[in-house]
Symmetry: C2
């Protein structure tokens, strides 16, 4: 993990851009984070668009988390931002747009081609990032996941035992196989669903929430469209992470 | 409104039982409530069983509300507790049990006979109670509704303009007509749904949430069975009321 830039904001938050292999990412740490008081870590999943597009929303989430004493890190998804395009995913995206334009159903085949190649690659990238971050002296304690591409969050919750709780944004297409994997998830989950998000399949989100095997799971549905998560709902997700990441430092 | 008993708890909360006409009820006021600092009021809707059965849960909710500076009041539903039985409702309840035992569908007819007679009577009783409570010098400011019989909360939200926000517990059968009335609800709503409540029709609850006309509405679904609302979910409902009742005293 190589840091390529660093800045410090007025509120003491330190922002560092990094590269891990060929994957760019950003790490935000609160002023309090140090070797003697390492900060628990939130892996901030993407919520649509590349890092550059998401940056203002990611920074807002990182500031919120820093106020609770947490570090936040994110990486660019395969095929996003300046990373090399993935032909099969681009084709699937074109097929998806075509289906939506034609008013045709979005088939499982399209969803699989759109999401699964990303997942297979990004899960190992997130895990490698986690290895590198936890080796930093100022990061330590519990790890949470918070963000979108709900399939990515679901699979990480299954395969990555260091993640102890997750806030999942339900707003993307979900391959059938993820419904199977969801039954193996056992960590506490806080699922955010924008009820009036017209581009999202609400029933798919409800079915996925139902499928999660976790004994402790909560679904918070709100109004406001795809990106319009109300502030109170963001605060509640923050409190969920505080409850689950703060027990052990 | 005639007060028939009074006690004060260690935390300063004053509990008074009252009778209004033939309707028994309970009022809890925080220590801070006075003519110079009147307390906003939460109408605590029933959550199953008569007042005596619900008392421990109602008291817990009233204490929580008092900590936020709110008074809480509740009344016995028609046909519940020591109030005269309502033959048509008793018959509907027997028909409901029979249908459930036989594994038959619960018809709209049964639901209408079970809920509508209660609603028609209790809505006017709750409104008369509200008149009497707001005449007390120690009660004033905004009014919220919080509790069960979601049809009662929905109808009160439509017909009673003094109610400015409502927490609704989705856990009872809903007559078809309430889905129509729900579209006329415009106040902020916070709906609690116990996802794994086997005696509750989850799809009915989701449909009703969808039907509410409010621009600001949130659905919080949790695990824990019919009466197992997690503490964090209760706290969130409390914060919703604080946000909406505290703006004007």
């Amino acid at each position: 993990m190589q840091f390529i830039s660093e800045q410090r904001f007025d509120d003491g938050i330190r922002e560092r851009e990094f590269i891990l292999g060929e994957v760019p990412g950003i790490l935000w740490t609160p002023e309090s984070a140090s070797e003697s008081t390492p900060a628990p870590l939130i892996l901030a999943g993407p919520s649509g668009g590349g890092l550059r597009t998401m940056y203002p929303r990611l920074l807002a989430r990182a500031r919120h988390a820093a106020a609770d004493g947490f570090a936040t890190a994110t990486i660019e998804l395969p095929g996003s931002g300046d990373r090399p395009r993935i032909a099969v995913v681009d084709q699937a995206r074109a097929d998806l747009r075509q289906a939506l334009r034609a008013g045709e159903p979005v088939t499982d085949d399209i969803v699989d081609r759109l999401i699964l190649p990303l997942l297979d690659q990004s899960v190992s990238e997130w895990r490698a990032t986690l290895d590198a971050l936890l080796a930093l002296p100022e990061i330590g304690g519990r790890v949470g996941y918070s963000g979108g591409v709900i399939s990515l969050g679901a699979r990480l919750a299954v395969v990555e035992p260091r993640i102890t709780a997750a806030v999942l944004f339900a707003g993307s297409f979900v391959p059938r196989i993820i419904f199977e994997e969801a039954r193996q998830v056992t960590i506490p989950l806080h699922v955010l669903l924008q009820w009036d998000d017209e581009g999202n399949d609400r029933q798919m989100a409800l079915d996925l929430f139902d499928a999660f095997g976790s004994k402790e799971k909560t679904l918070h549905a709100n109004m406001g469209g795809h990106t319009g998560v109300p502030q109170a709902a963001g605060d509640e997700a923050g409190r969920f992470l505080v409850r689950h990441l703060n027990s052990v430092r």
